[in-house]
């Protein structure tokens, strides 16, 4: 048999778990302490937010919540790699990327608190809201990319999904159309090793998720998703390529879901503490802090004051959230169509009357 075609998957890592730099060619942003600090701030803020959100849920003040513990480098790295004009099509736990882009913590809380207003957020108005049906965001992400390509705008889309999401047909269809039309889109698979209780190994026999790109004839690359420098660099370059009309990329970011899947889940049912503890050893914040320390711009005191500042920000957000008004009953009708159809008028009236009667 002749060989017809050959392929390979590369792996990028710049900052190792000890905060050591593994390359001589650091990207410019990584040599800029200000920029690194900016990222570290959002990463830590995200973590503070996360534990506060879980606490709110535990005390009945928030609905089911999907933690992002351990994903901070992958998420914030993606946010930092984007320009404002780009569009983020997230799944449901990429708060780090969204905070970077201007979404407010209280808006995330509103969403998980069961108020649609949370999705009318302060991030870029063109960003998509959270996407619950797994992997479907990759398809409308491709549609958004096609809009920019058609209008010849120098903008790109980041569609984010999980390791589990790579099993959905939608994901392949999205990569395929992106490849065919060279759409300005970067697919970021945040491989946190688990899809609720299903481990990565049971999700597919593919050795890497990055190689799924070959199905669409687009480039795929794997990287250390706990290394924010690698994430921002690779995703940033892919986005640049995309904006320049050079087509899509699939990026697989290896990380680990340190929390339960959501507050409705109990991960002890299906995975060992041991595995989680090992993953904690290579989590993203620690190595970033060490790197900052190695740059000479960080110390314990600064760390403590940052933590205090983060706490203040999040507490203020929680307060805003808890004080925010309940949505109006009529909201459930008034955003169904641009204009309320006659057919809904009577139902809307019934809902108002019902509510009055209940009170």
């Amino acid at each position: 048999m002749k060989t017809k075609a050959r392929f390979e998957i590369g792996f990028e890592q710049i900052l190792d778990p000890a905060g050591q730099v593994l390359t001589k060619r650091l990207p410019a942003f990584a040599r800029d302490p200000e920029e690194m600090l900016r990222m570290y701030r959002v990463m830590t803020l995200t973590r503070t937010f996360d534990s506060r959100a879980i606490a709110l849920q535990r005390t009945g003040k928030l609905g089911t919540y999907a933690s992002c513990l351990g994903h901070e480098a992958a998420h914030v790295g993606v946010g930092a790699a984007m320009i404002e004009a780009d569009v983020l099509a997230p799944s449901y736990r990429e708060y780090g990327a969204q905070f970077w882009r201007g979404v407010k913590p209280e808006e995330v809380l509103l969403y998980w608190g069961g108020n649609e207003q949370g999705s009318n957020f302060s991030g870029p108005p063109h960003d998509f809201a959270w996407c619950v049906p797994i992997a479907t965001q990759t398809l409308y992400g491709a549609g958004a990319a096609l809009a920019f390509q058609t209008r010849e705008e120098k903008r790109a889309v980041v569609a984010m999904l999980g390791d589990g999401g790579t099993s959905e047909g939608a994901f392949y269809e999205a990569m395929n159309i992106a490849g065919v039309r060279r759409l300005p889109i970067v697919f970021v698979v945040v491989n946190n090793q688990w899809a609720i209780s299903v481990p990565r190994s049971a999700q597919t026999r593919a050795a890497t998720l990055a190689q799924k790109a070959f199905a669409a004839g687009i480039p795929g690359v794997q990287l250390d998703g706990n290394d924010i420098i690698a994430v921002r660099k690779v995703v940033g370059e892919a986005l640049q390529q995309a904006r320049q009309g050079k087509g899509p990329t699939l990026v697989e970011a290896l990380t680990y879901r340190l929390s339960d899947h959501t507050t409705a889940d109990d991960a002890r049912r299906y995975r060992s503490e041991d595995e989680v503890n090992k993953a904690k050893m290579i989590e993203p914040l620690e190595r970033t802090r060490k790197y900052l320390e190695s740059l000479g711009v960080w110390d314990d005191e600064k760390e403590q004051s940052l933590m205090a500042e983060n706490k203040k920000i999040i507490e203020a957000a929680v307060k805003t959230y808890l004080n925010s008004p309940a949505p109006a009953i009529t909201d459930m009708f008034d955003y169904m169509y641009a204009e309320l159809p006659d057919a809904l008028r009577e139902q809307r009236k019934t809902a108002i009357e019902e509510n009055a009667a209940d009170e």
């Binding site: 207003q117 049906p133 409308y140 159309i177 641009a338």
Partner: protein, 327 residues
């Protein structure tokens, strides 16, 4: 002015809007060089270029997903699903996103998109090429479902659909794609959505129908008129949301309603009309509302498809039953 078919009216509407609105994109399987398997997009790629009118890979979820993403980001996509029987992979994007984007984001993003598909039976096509499943879409909150039944309404309603700020599933009754011709001035004038069209006025019984069955319904009405029975014929046109007012007003006058549709009977659009009209006008009804519909069976292949589709005769018999009925 020369007369055109319903199919040509679709092409004419697409053409007009492509010409007058830069944000319109037309795409789907085989819509480019081939001009669509029914030729609904014939000549459009040549005229407007392959950036605006193009073939996609074979993937319906993807076609719907492109529509969602494009429309949320300021474009006006008109996706084609080659036959409505292949729309099922697109259901997820329609139900989970297109119909929800505006509500989900409290108006921040929306999906002004059109998903077109030829639908319905009667052309002796293979399996899954002849179904009438409009009720699946009509049940979904947030969608509009529009079905034209003449060249003029195809033109006017498709223009309206493309200009509508919300997602529209536009089902084209392929059995009458080429059957009747009408003068259709190419003036860019849309017809109203969410509105029934009264095609024939009458006093004895109201016939409500839509799509290709409008033809058999009008034929039945003509033949019944010869017997002195005056049917009011109403074309629903937009089957969701429903223009109930027109229907109820008519039934209050005629006291009788026959609903004619190709769709399978259970939980169909016909069920909704019957339920809603009876709610509003029970005391006006002197006879049970009749549903002359498809059966709750798989649409048969061609040998039996005419036994599935409601016939003029079956409509007439239903009308006569409502006239004979007495409280």
């Amino acid at each position: 002015m020369s007369k055109i078919t319903l199919l040509e009216a679709v092409t004419q509407a697409l053409s007009w809007e492509l010409e007058h609105d830069d944000s319109i994109l037309v795409f789907g399987e085989d819509v480019g060089a081939n001009g669509g398997v029914f030729r609904a997009t014939d000549g459009l790629q040549k005229r407007f270029g392959a950036n605006r009118v193009f073939d996609t890979p074979l993937a319906e979820a993807m076609i719907a997903g492109l529509c969602v993403g494009l429309s949320a980001q300021g474009m006006k996509p008109v996706g084609e699903i080659q036959f409505s029987g292949f729309m099922y992979p697109a259901v997820d994007q329609l139900v989970s996103h297109a119909s929800r984007m505006r509500n989900r984001t409290r108006g921040r993003l929306s999906c002004p998109m059109v998903l077109r598909a030829p639908y319905g039976g009667g052309i002796h096509a293979p399996e899954l090429h002849s179904e009438s499943m409009e009720a699946l879409y009509a049940h979904v909150p947030g969608l509009r479902v529009v079905i034209p039944s003449s060249p003029q309404r195809a033109y006017g309603l498709l223009l309206a659909a493309m200009r509508d700020p919300d997602p529209v599933v536009f089902l084209e009754p392929k059995r009458i794609y080429r059957i009747t011709k009408q003068e259709v001035p190419d003036n860019g004038q849309a017809l109203p959505l969410d509105t029934c069209f009264v095609l024939r006025e009458g006093t004895d019984v109201t016939l409500a129908s839509w799509g290709a069955m409008i033809n058999e319904t009008l034929k039945a009405a003509t033949q019944l008129a010869a017997q002195g029975i005056e049917c009011e014929v109403i074309d629903l046109a937009t089957v969701k949301p429903l223009d109930l007012e027109t229907l109820v007003e008519s039934v209050e006058r005629t006291a009788r309603l026959v609903i004619i549709a190709e769709e399978p009977r259970s939980c169909g659009v016909g069920a909704e009309i019957a339920a809603a009209v009876a709610e509003k006008a029970l005391y006006s009804l002197v006879a049970p509302i009749e549903r002359v519909s498809g059966y709750d069976v798989i649409m048969p292949l061609s040998k039996l498809e005419n036994n599935y589709l409601p016939s003029v005769n079956r409509i007439q018999k239903a009308v006569l039953r409502t006239l004979e009925a007495e409280r």
